[in-house]
Amino acid sequence: MPKFKPAWMVLLTGGVFGIFFAVLVKLGNPPNMGTCLVCFIRDIAGALRLHHIDKVSFLRPEIIGFILGACVAGLVAKEFKAVGGASPILRFVISAFVAIGALVFLGCPIRMFGRLAGGDPTALMGLLGLIVGAWIGVLFLKSGFMLGRTRELSKANGWVIPVFALFLLILLLAKPSFVFLNPNGHAPIIISLVIGLVVGALGQRSRLCFVGSIRDIILMKDFHLFQGIFGFFVLCLVMNLFLGQFNPGAHPMGHTNHLASFLGLLLVGWGSTLIGGCPFRQTILAGYGNTDSGMSFLGMLVGAGFAHNFMLAGKPSGVSINAIIAMIVGIVVFLIISSTNRVR
């Protein structure tokens, strides 16, 4: 009889992540950013010179750790399996717009909950956008939206993303001149890496997903995954209070363009529902063989590069007109993909 995981695994993963999110800020990660999946993928894009904003360029060991931690956990649990082929290029495009939406808002769903747990009220419009986005995605799921079936691939396919993560780790340690590493704004590398490995492995075991949580509640009133968000938010809040990082009303590195915040995370909620998981879940899945999620990871990397090259990313000073145009384009693209990939 196969063994099933009780929900405390999801709760534990969310809780541990929440604690580490706050601790990493104390240790040097940017305030109010903590461990943001998309922001850190953006930093990797910068380090690899896919954009040239030096301030946001670093090979984030947390991301490397998530991928490698999920890879090891998947191997140990015998769940590492190379699969793919369910509309990979559509997933790439959707994920690029997910990254752009998150960077307009300034945060993936994890950072949004982290911002709320730090007392930032501007994140509330993001939460609303995320819920509405997931709800739109669910409407299309209910009307038959599907990206097709994956099939098993040769093992080498499954190893591409873990080897890429290993390559990033080597670059981070060797510091060759062709990568740019901002010396500021990060916790000690070894601590970030170990935390990334732990959260990555827990994420693989628990299947924690920040958009899946909301989707499952809308779709079937299932609060299983939501326990992860609950654990994350409560322990991140407690930790912030303990470390003196809870500043009600403050929004360091956030902006007050509420419409942009709403639309940014609407794209994230909608897109993540279409591809079956939030940026964190995609990164974890990419770590243990899912090449479709690997395409999502690469889509976010390229989207993050575009976000800065085309001046789409939000800044504390505000949001550009380019960003609003990009989000409208994103909504149109999602509408086309959502309505042309339905099976009855």
Partner: protein, 70 residues
């Protein structure tokens, strides 16, 4: 005759969504074939929460979930 649903290769949340359609149609017996542990666990949780008994058999690389109304 059990209603048969093949969810192999489908990603989250399609396996659950297809099973839910059969549950909403008040099928008494449903057989779900899955090739993924996440899909297996999610379908099992949904069926049990909806008042069904679930028995799982492993057939080569697949899982066969026999879902029967209590």
């Amino acid at each position: 005759m059990a209603k048969e649903i093949d969810v192999r290769g489908l990603s989250c949340p399609q396996p659950v969504l297809l099973t839910k359609k059969a549950i909403d149609a008040e099928e008494k017996e449903i057989m779900v074939i899955a090739d993924d542990i996440v899909a297996r666990d999610n379908v099992k949780r949904l069926a049990e929460n909806s008042g069904y008994d679930v028995k799982i058999e492993e057939k080569e690389a697949d899982f066969v979930l026999n879902i029967i109304k209590k």
